[in-house]
Symmetry: C2
Subunit: 653 residues, 2 copies
């Protein structure tokens, strides 16, 4: 501890500027708006029906400021600023998460479906009303029996050329739209995903249509059955409900027809011939939802960490024998271990998320964004969303426990943070499924065929088409690294654990090794005549681990670039230390694998643990500044135990 | 998967009988009572003040059945059945956990303080009224500024010989009694832990006194300030509050005087001379609270697992290409991995808990229970409580995620299970602190001095007194094992991963190695003149890991004894498989350590992972029976997605 006291203090304002990045002005505006309006769950929480109305009111106030349509085209009252709209959403996530999700459903999911799947007529007619929340809507994709496997939804939209109408129908209970935000109380129009049937019989696959569900007085439309999902683990300010359709008729124009049209006389046309590819192209445009949830998870984690780290600096327990002087919790190694590697990871995820936002913004603004880049972007969003939402859940829990009894009181925010973020791990794509999608992209090398294969078909595809590329490519890389790196006897000692290039090499090598390992296993299974399902299932944990390894490597690269790009020398040194902590904690947590694959020795593995301990001690004096840099307004943070130190004299040591 | 289909099915009733053990009748009675009364949180949850009254009413109903005083002496209306009372408490934990904690506070903590720290007069006067809940009371130990470090409480009890009274006083805000169950609304008498001051000046250490806080009409007594902790993350049916005293006078008889008396003229006497030892002796009698929380955590975990596993058997998603036949979630390896090792661990903890209950019962019933056994028992309770409560939190979370959107609905129980069990990790002893206590016992070899040393004094003690014993003892054992076990080249392959003796050897070796490692590090630090606090702090994570290793070894031994003791051959085989899964999953999760310490090769480490996968597939067909064996009545389980299969024809494959 003594050696580190000479490290110059970090400046929270400089951190804030760096973290806020290019959307700083928007973030500050949202911060100020949150602090003024103090949108926050009253304590005790009001009954759900009141809370829902309160959230609707807040959302309308917010929409009145014009910030809701930030990402919409200028001609419909927006600012064409997709990146800015996600930055605003992320910042809004410092406050009440029901408000956030209510906005996400309305402006992001529902509005996004109209914007991205519809055409000019839909935009003109609906976007302005959506942006003001005048027309509350639903994104009706998930069904009771069809969650992750969206392609299997049972709702049908059958074209009736005589009436020039579509007939929307729910054939069975399993096909009821379920968990739909805005459905239980407020939604009037729903973007409904249904099997499109034109010209008798066969489905053209899943398409999206706008279907009125309530009239202006809030009564269910004819043929529409609405019900309430009831109380949830969290997010009870959002009215999730169920929707069932009994032969509900909508005009031909109800079809959001950017990727497929049906002529008046019932001829189907789509520029994308392959139905699977069409489906995934449609889904791809909705990527914004995942990026938004990812950012919101990171923000919620920052709230929890700000509270827990300030508490850990202030709260004292026990001390040296014979002394009345108790020691701050954060000076204990066990406490540092519980909080600081997670803080480093939040920073890492933050930088990866900012790069993701920038790329998403590019995808929506440049002409002819390449399809391969689109695939990569979708893959990054899926992977980062999985890691960030799991990080939120585990970190908020750890923060709560680190605050003991005080952490259990609702006033200190962990109750709502935990409850509200929990569903992020399974909505907008279940994390386990998302990681399998990531692995599929890696195995098929982001080819156009992405999205056209289900998991098991991937097995055959990998075996048939990319096996050699994947395996040979990584075999060569591994070989080169083995020759130059620490596996050459006697060289390991010379390699510095704090060398970024070494850390990156380890994560890259792991990823390559895992990808080629999975490809080999799939090929071996198929070659020996096993059932493709069994072959796939046998590798499933390996597949998921591969995806994790890939995302973690990407996250380290993003953090590393952020450190390099920082031109304030003192701050750069501080971030570099934090990046080391992130990298080595990641390596430490998978050091079993690195040993199993002969990539690090057992001596080195123990060295990694020692290095993480040392880095925790080095980061500890800066922990306060690192959370201050998140710049969560005191009134928004709200937790009594998380307020900044009032008397700087009692300081952080 | 095919190989396992021949394994005979397990009989849920046989499992139930085995799990229920010697307290089967009591457990069945509580099950029936729960099912009849259907004590359960209404959905939506009522406002906290209504919920609190409802819980009080339930608790009184329950007390009217006479089950509350099961563990009290027969002469005061009890049955002298400590083991049975914990079995009843565990079973009650299948239902509403606010009711459980309300009962725990009243009958266990408050009643337990009167029973174990008081003497005959206190028993006669209070126990009968406590057992009927006629006299609601508090266990007022924790203070705002003094949580884990209870010896540092600031409340004082100063004897005034002129009036023959104690003066109870809260000197500052940090010394306010905080988070106290029953304090916000219902409590009338509080067992208050305070520094006892007799004859001027110096404190005799922490003692417990009975102090009235409310009169019969619910008004605060003079000098007593009561306030409400407000809404909490969970357990909102319990009225936690704060208590402050302003020179409140109580008669001399208010002191619970089993371990220390004060004569009328103000002479202090205690049969235990050392004040630290006296304090820990007093705390030791309250061990029942930890054992109860431990059992409750295991029960709550069983509820979550019953729901998630039944859902995983029924819910189908995706399937082989070109097939309409979707596959049950539980047939996917990733899903098995998420649920089945945790199920094996619940069984393991269950058996360890049953042994703990039996030993606790013995401690309270035999005369002259040896002090060393008492230390060991306290250590076991502390360690098992930490592991079981963390297991509950992580498992309930995993179960919730495995149920997707349905898992997020309050009706499916995870919301309350997560929220209510959360505080178990930090109350009745913070888990991190408890594990440090466990390590201290190991390092001091359960000597009498246990409890008289704070963590840092332990450093000096270990160095001064037990270093040689601890290190030499384990060095010899390690040497013997190294000579006979798998480190001898070429022998590893011959050792069967499924051999229980081999599994136990690994866990024992790890524990010994860690204990002697910590002892060596402490000695080296002190010998080189470092500050004892720094020496201790530098080892803190190692100390905690040591305690975990110790508890895990004990748990495996308990599971192993249960398997051996099972005389139904089919069931024994099933349990043996489950015990293998528990043991190998434990080894797998720490395989980095085993490799680092040369105890298993990297080849073997990979083999452990393969074995865990294979065991998951083997356990999968029996998962339904294994949760049916918990025998949670349907109405108590309550979750729609957790109800047993209605049509056995659609079965579990």
């Amino acid at each position: 501890m003594t050696a580190t006291e000479t490290t110059p203090a970090l400046d929270p304002d400089a951190i804030r500027v760096l973290l806020d990045g290019e959307h700083r002005a928007i973030r500050d505006e949202v911060r100020a708006g949150l602090a003024d309006a103090a949108y926050e769950r009253p304590i005790p929480a009001p009954p759900d029906d009141e809370y829902r109305e309160l959230v609707l009111e807040w959302a309308r106030e917010l929409a009145a400021d014009g910030r809701a349509g930030l990402g919409y085209p200028q001609e419909f009252g927006g600012q064409d600023n997709v990146g800015g709209s996600i930055a605003a959403f992320e910042t809004l996530a410092y406050g009440d998460l029901s408000l956030l999700v209510k906005c996400g459903v309305q402006f992001g999911l529902f509005g996004g479906a109209v914007l991205h799947l519809g055409t000019r007529e839909h935009h003109e007619r609906y976007l302005p009303q959506i942006a003001t929340f005048e027309l509350p809507g639903c994104f009706a994709m998930t069904e009771t029996g069809h969650g992750s496997n969206v392609q299997a939804v049972g709702t049908t939209a059958t074209y009736d050329p005589a009436a020039e109408e579509f007939v929307i129908h729910t054939p069975d209970e399993e096909s009821t739209k379920d968990y739909i935000g805005n459905a239980a109380a407020h939604g009037r129009l729903a973007a409904v995903f249904a099997q499109l049937i034109v010209g008798g019989g066969e489905s053209r696959g899943v398409h999206c249509l706008l279907v009125p569900i309530r009239d202006e007085r809030g009564r269910a439309c004819e043929g529409v059955t609405l019900s309430d999902c009831g109380p949830k683990l969290g997010l009870n300010g959002v009215d999730n409900g169920r929707i069932a359709f009994d032969h509900v008729r909508v005009p031909r124009e109800a079809l959001l027809d950017r990727y497929a049209q049906v002529s008046a006389d019932g001829v189907y046309f789509s520029p994308i011939e392959n139905p699977d590819r069409r489906f995934f192209t449609m889904l791809g445009t909705l990527i914004q939802g995942r990026v938004s949830v990812c950012g919101a998870s990171i923000s919620a984690t920052k709230v929890a960490q700000t509270i827990a780290i300030r508490h850990g600096e202030r709260r004292r327990q026990f001390g040296p024998p014979g002394s009345d002087h108790e020691v701050p919790l954060l000076s204990y190694r066990a406490h540092q271990r519980r909080l600081l590697p997670a803080l480093a990871k939040t920073y890492a995820l933050h930088f990866a998320q900012q790069e993701l936002i920038a790329e998403l913004h590019r995808a929506f603004t440049v002409d002819d964004y390449p399809e391969r880049d689109q695939r990569e972007l979708e893959t990054r969003a899926a992977g980062l969303k999985a890691l960030a939402t799991w990080h939120a859940v585990s970190t908020i829990q750890e923060c709560r426990e680190c605050c003991g009894g005080a952490g259990y009181l609702a006033e200190n925010r962990f109750a709502e943070l935990r409850a509200d973020t929990d569903v992020f791990t399974t909505f907008e794509g279940d994390n386990t499924i998302l990681l399998q999608l990531v692995a599929k992209s890696l195995l098929t090398d982001f080819r156009d065929e992405f999205g056209e294969l289900n998991q098991i078909e991937t097995v055959g595809f990998v075996v048939g088409q990319v096996y050699e590329t994947v395996v040979e490519r990584s075999a060569v890389r591994e070989l080169v690294q083995r020759l130059t790196d620490d596996l050459v006897p006697g060289r390991e000692d010379e390699l510095d654990l704090l060398d970024r290039a070494y850390q990156l090499d380890l994560l890259r090598w792991r990823e390559e090794h895992m990808i080629s390992g999975v490809a080999r296993r799939l090929k071996r299974g198929i070659d020996s005549g096993e059932d493709p399902f069994d072959v796939f299932n046998d590798c499933q944990d390996h597949v998921i681990a591969t995806a994790r390894a890939h995302v973690e490597r990407e996250v380290l690269e993003a953090f590393s670039r952020a450190v390099e790009g920082c031109d304030d020398e003192g701050l750069r040194a501080g971030l570099d230390r934090l990046c080391n902590l992130f990298a080595l904690a990641a390596i430490e947590s998978d050091r079993a694998w690195f040993q199993e694959h002969g990539r690090i020795s057992s001596t080195r593995a123990k060295g990694v643990t020692r290095a993480v301990n040392a880095l925790c001690a080095e980061v500890r004096p800066h922990a306060g500044a690192l959370v201050d840099g998140f710049a969560i307004p005191d009134t928004v943070l709200h937790a009594p135990i998380g307020q900044p130190e009032r008397d700087p004299g009692t300081g952080s040591r």
